[in-house]
């Protein structure tokens, strides 16, 4: 598989998008979103962070243009991270001591 060359235009668009969403996440943090729904501030902050990280992985790190086997390794890694986070949190957050 020959190397895929990503154009500077795409890098510039991605870089600008990342900067804009850094501003958006800062602005969102100054609003009391928890007033609307408890935990909304964290949810919005994490959703923006995941979106930004996805752009970095797909375009700056070329995952979108990588061989399928590399993509499979990336997805498998994220799956294990999800296991670590979800299974541990489902334990902790359901303990009686967390709601005292």
């Amino acid at each position: 598989m020959p190397e895929h060359i990503v154009s500077p235009r795409i890098y510039a668009v991605i870089g600008a998008t990342l900067l804009i969403f850094t501003g958006v996440t800062y602005y969102a943090a100054t609003l009391d979103l928890n007033h609307i729904y408890h935990g909304l501030n964290v949810t919005v902050a994490l959703a923006i962070a995941v979106f930004k990280a996805t752009l970095v992985v797909l375009y700056f790190m070329h995952a979108r243009y990588s061989p399928k086997r590399t993509q499979l390794v990336i997805i498998a890694g994220l799956f294990w991270l999800a296991l670590l986070l979800l299974l541990t949190l489902s334990d902790y957050l359901s303990r009686a001591t967390m709601h005292g």
Binding site: G15, Y26, A29, A45, L85, M98
Partner: protein
Amino acid sequence: MHRTGELYGQFQTLDQQREAASLGMWVFLITEIMFFGGLFLAYTINRAIYAVAFAEASRELNVHMGGANTAVLILSSFTMAMGVWCSQTGRKRLLVVFLIATLALGGVFLGVKYFEYAEKFHHHLVPGYDFHFPDVKPEIAAQDPYINAHAQLFFSLYFGMTGLHALHMIVGAGLLLWLIAQAAKGRFTPAYNTPVEIVGLYWHFVDIIWIFLFPLLYLIDRHT
């Protein structure tokens, strides 16, 4: 090991060698993701348990320095990506320029981090070193009588996570210095630029860690 030009003996083509190197780097980065993932998990659990103290402690961080550093790191990822493009298209001089820009922006990030850390020492917010959390309103103190200890836990995680991130930046700066020296010799061509790509992957990974550290440490309790 037998080597013909830049092609090691166990590979048939430079493309195959590049794909193997990139795959290997991703496997390494996944071990790094698991390693930082454990720290993010520890932070999340403690934040859930000591929500009041963590919210108070989080507001002691300097959000302007943290925000500026986020922008600096994103710019450095952009210049790194442009460096990869230069190496792929044979722009040898411009490659050196973009790599130096990346290194300089990394230096700015670490410089800002130095001032942030110095501020924490000045404010007695370094765990184990004369830690004293500022007095809080009586209603906050009533919610968490051990707020000094729990705030210290926040700052332990803050220094642990940002410190390890900064360590990765320092390693990245070392890699960039080596890369700049190689690029200045004109080693990287459209046919062979794997080291630029690999160091780029590492640099972007360090950027991603900060993309999560910034909102989680600085932002989520900023309101009210």
